[in-house]
């Protein structure tokens, strides 16, 4: 399966290529006051205002230290960007290693001596994961 590998801290997360619109470098982030911690801010992508999310916090595995790159995905509810702390890589996912434990994770895959967790983007970006606001 063709996927984009997203480096988050020391871990790798994979997103199926069909979700991905583009990768943007060094977006100018504007933080949103009172937003939940999963939201790093918004940036302008050719006139469209796109929210940027902290993948580590969405998955509850910690927070991304830095975000020089973002992967823009089409979530079905509009564009969203997932922050990456290094250049995302295109890769073919290899052997499946088992089910994933993180919420929104589909399965673990072997990929070039690394372990990448394939994400279901719509589940990762579910309102309950993003948090904040009123029910």
């Amino acid at each position: 399966m063709n996927a984009l590998l997203l480096p988050v801290d020391r871990e790798w997360y994979a997103i199926e290529s069909s979700w991905v619109r583009e990768v943007a470098a060094a977006p100018l982030l504007v933080p949103l006051p009172t937003a939940p911690a999963t939201v790093l801010g918004v940036f302008n992508l050719r006139g469209e205002i796109v929210p940027v999310f902290d993948v580590g916090r969405l998955l509850g595995v910690g927070q991304s230290p830095d975000h020089p790159f973002v992967v823009v995905v089409d979530s079905g509810l509009g564009l969203a960007a997932l922050a990456a702390h290094a250049v995302p890589e295109l890769a073919d996912l290899g052997e499946q290693l088992g089910a994933a434990d993180v919420p929104g994770g589909v399965a673990r895959f072997a990929c070039d001596r690394r372990v990448a967790v394939l994400l279901a983007v719509d589940e990762v970006l579910a309102p309950a994961r993003i948090g904040g606001g009123r029910a």
Partner: protein, 698 residues
């Protein structure tokens, strides 16, 4: 089924659209029929619509709907040939049928088997054949003017219906465009304007040319401005698009509470942004129902006061600069300010020294009502605080004027459009923000000497009002600005001052939403894109003010925690204690379960005597009682509570299956605070009524 070839789907879709349009017009025309009597052209139009629905329904296989339309047609035939006059009862019955068809047809087109329901509607219309016609003078139009049955109705020449008809003809020259396409146009025009600004900067920075000296550049600016304005216009709709619904509400409420009300609309051609008008539809509906139900006195009372029996409720729309004012006024009894004060006092507010004018604004607080009484009509547990919330959401403000014995007027003031807003640009806590100009009252440098301190908070005088000053940066969860100018924001009825880092100027901002992925952030109205491509956040005054007040009310809250938490949910802790009084066990237990789930402590009693015994053991925060009970009924219980020294201020809500005006008056006389009719009973209505009386301001 029929000879539709492969186009069956297409025909059904067309019928779905067409039938809705026709049914909508039918209900409008029926309302006019009631006022105009057997106007030949109007009857003809109604007849045509029923006839077309019959034909088309049969074609797409909705035979049950066709039968309903057929019976309607038969009935209308009587109107057309002058055998029968339009009576309120007849119009009532036809409106019910039209409403039913409006929901039945889409469901049936989706494949739901609702033939039985349609048959019920059909029987309802059939029963109208026996309804007597209007008594007394027949309508202004003599039956001779009515075309003989079977002939095609001719267009009227110059009767009084001609003007609205012409409007309908003008509408025929329009086309339907999906709103999304218009939104896209607006977005692209905004983009062009931003690109144009960037180009100007590039000319200056890279080529060292002042763009203002270039004729071509100025020409482009001019055209883009005009394009922007025209595109905005395309999204505007006249107020007339929502007035039919309001007319219907006035009529229905008036009939249900036995009042004679004349409905009047002025300035219905006033245009405003479609999404803005949509947001105002509900608050206006509420104000109009409120006017009829609470504002207008019963006809006998009006006569006794020397007023005409027929009351008037008027909607007046007008444009004033970049704002639209929509006023709903009535010539009823006015708001009883003393009663409002009394209610506020009972909720624990300090009302000493509150002027009559300020007391009027108290009605927008949660838990207070203009009637002092939650009735089943406009009440349903929604008060003016809900109107306030909707107007807040539309970034507008609301004003109220009331003269005892003369009437009440509510004015909603909103910007014409939300898409482009003139904004004040400022810096707070190290970030740049825009604030819509219409919510900025004052922006000025303020010396520390000009500030007074009260309860540990800096306060400044704005006119005759003392306004608390908060630090905007801290309210938004960022750094505090030690010194800097102060901006006073106003939202509906609230004012609050904010210390900011710096004022940066004014600019029109094309405001975009933040998208559906993010949770709603109350402090933000949206965002715009700056000429340099960065995002400029637009603050929402009502949200910012609410947040400032909430932080102020919770001393010791760290801003970091407040910033991380987003909007807080109400704490689910214990709420009030409620005594439920009803002789029917099922009713009692139903109410108990609803209230307990909402977090209230509930005790129960079988009748009035039992209730008083329970209250003697331990007082409660609210009593919810049935009327008809053995030993002591609900009225008696209410009177006993009011007459008891320590219980007198306990709110009492009467819940009953009775709905007559007489009952309601008795309830009011006995001193009850609210009245919920069981037929209109639902969980939300009950909880709303209870929450309003217990003063759980959001």
């Amino acid at each position: 089924m029929n000879n539709l070839g492969g186009y069956e789907e297409e025909f059904r879709r067309l019928f779905a659209d067409e039938s809705q349009t026709r049914l909508l017009r039918l209900s409008t025309d029926l309302l006019r029929l009631e006022e105009a009597g057997n106007d030949a052209e109007l009857v003809a139009s109604i007849f045509r619509d029923a006839h077309s629905i019959k034909g088309a329904a049969g074609m797409v296989g909705l035979d049950a709907v066709a039968r309903v339309a057929h019976v309607m047609e038969d009935l209308l035939e009587g109107l057309r040939n002058g055998e029968r006059m339009a009576s309120p009862e007849l119009v009532d019955g036809l409106l019910v049928a039209v409403d039913a068809l409006r929901s039945l047809i889409p469901a049936m087109l989706q494949g739901e088997a609702l033939d039985d329901e349609a048959a019920v509607v059909e029987a309802g219309v059939r029963a109208l054949v026996d309804v007597p016609g209007r008594h007394g003078t027949p309508s202004a139009v003599a039956p001779a003017d009515v075309p003989p049955p079977g002939s095609e109705p001719e267009p009227a020449s110059a009767d009084r219906e001609a003007a609205p008809r012409r409007r309908a003809d003008a509408a025929a020259e329009t086309i339907r465009v999906p709103v999304t396409r218009l939104d896209e146009l607006v977005r692209l025009v905004g983009e062009s304007a931003a690109a144009h600004l960037r180009m100007g900067r590039m000319l200056a920075d890279v080529l060292d040319v002042d763009p203002a000296t270039l004729g071509e550049f100025r020409e482009l600016s001019h055209v883009l401005n005009e394009l922007q304005e025209k595109t905005m216009r395309a999204r505007m709709v006249p107020v007339a698009t929502i007035t039919d619904n309001l007319h219907r509400a006035v009529r229905d409420v008036a009939r249900s509470c036995g009042k004679d009300v004349h409905w009047e609309v002025r300035g219905e051609d006033t245009e405003l942004d479609r999404s803005m008008l949509e947001q105002l539809a509900d608050p206006l509906l509420h104000l109009v129902r409120n006017a009829v139900d609470h504002g207008i006195e019963p006809p006998e009372e009006r006569e006794a006061a020397g007023k005409p029996r027929q009351a008037t409720v008027r909607l007046h729309a007008m444009q004033l600069g970049s704002e639209v004012i929509i006023a709903v006024s009535d010539d009823g009894g006015g708001i009883d300010v003393d009663r409002v004060r009394e209610q506020a006092a009972r909720r624990g507010d300090d009302v000493t020294g509150v002027s009559d004018e300020d007391a009027l604004y108290l009605t927008f607080r949660s838990g207070l009502s203009t009637a002092g009484f939650i009735s089943d009509v406009s009440g349903r547990g929604v008060g003016l605080d809900v109107v306030r919330t909707s107007v807040d959401a539309a970034r507008g403000r609301i004003e109220v004027l009331s003269t005892p014995g003369r009437g009440t007027e509510f004015r909603i003031v909103v910007p014409i459009t939300l898409a482009v807003l003139p904004c004040l640009l400022l810096e707070a806590g190290g970030h740049r923000y825009a604030v819509p100009m219409h919510s900025v009252l004052v922006a000025q440098e303020v010396d520390d000497d000009a500030l007074v301190h009260a309860e540990g908070r800096p306060t400044m005088w704005v006119g005759s009002q003392a306004v608390v000053v908060s630090d905007l940066g801290r309210v938004l969860g960022a750094e505090r600005d030690a010194a800097g100018p102060v901006v006073v924001l106003s939202a509906v009825t609230r004012r609050h001052a904010f210390r900011v880092g710096a004022l940066l100027g004014q600019r029109d901002v094309v405001v975009k939403g933040l998208g559906r992925l993010l949770p709603r952030l109350d402090v933000l109205a949206g965002a715009g894109v700056e000429p340099d491509g960065s995002v400029l956040l637009v603050l929402d005054a009502p949200g910012v003010i609410d947040r400032a007040r909430k932080l102020r009310d919770r001393p010791g809250t760290t801003t970091a925690a407040a910033a991380a938490g987003g909007r807080d949910r109400p704490a689910p802790g214990p709420r009030g204690a409620i005594l439920v009084v009803d002789d029917a066990l099922t009713v009692r237990e139903l109410q108990r379960s609803i209230l307990e789930r909402a977090g209230y402590r509930v005790r129960t009693a079988d009748d009035g005597v039992d209730a008083l015994a329970r209250l003697a053991e331990e007082p409660v925060d609210l009593v919810l009682t049935d009327i008809e009970m053995p030993r002591l009924d609900g009225f008696g219980l209410t009177e006993a509570i009011r007459g008891h020294a320590s219980l007198a201020t306990t709110p009492v809500v009467i819940l009953t299956s009775r709905a007559t005006a007489e009952d309601r008056r008795r309830g009011l006389d006995s001193g009850a605070d609210g009245y919920i009719v069981k037929s209109a009973f639902d969980e939300a209505a009950l909880l709303n009524a209870v929450e309003r009386l217990l003063g759980r301001a959001p």
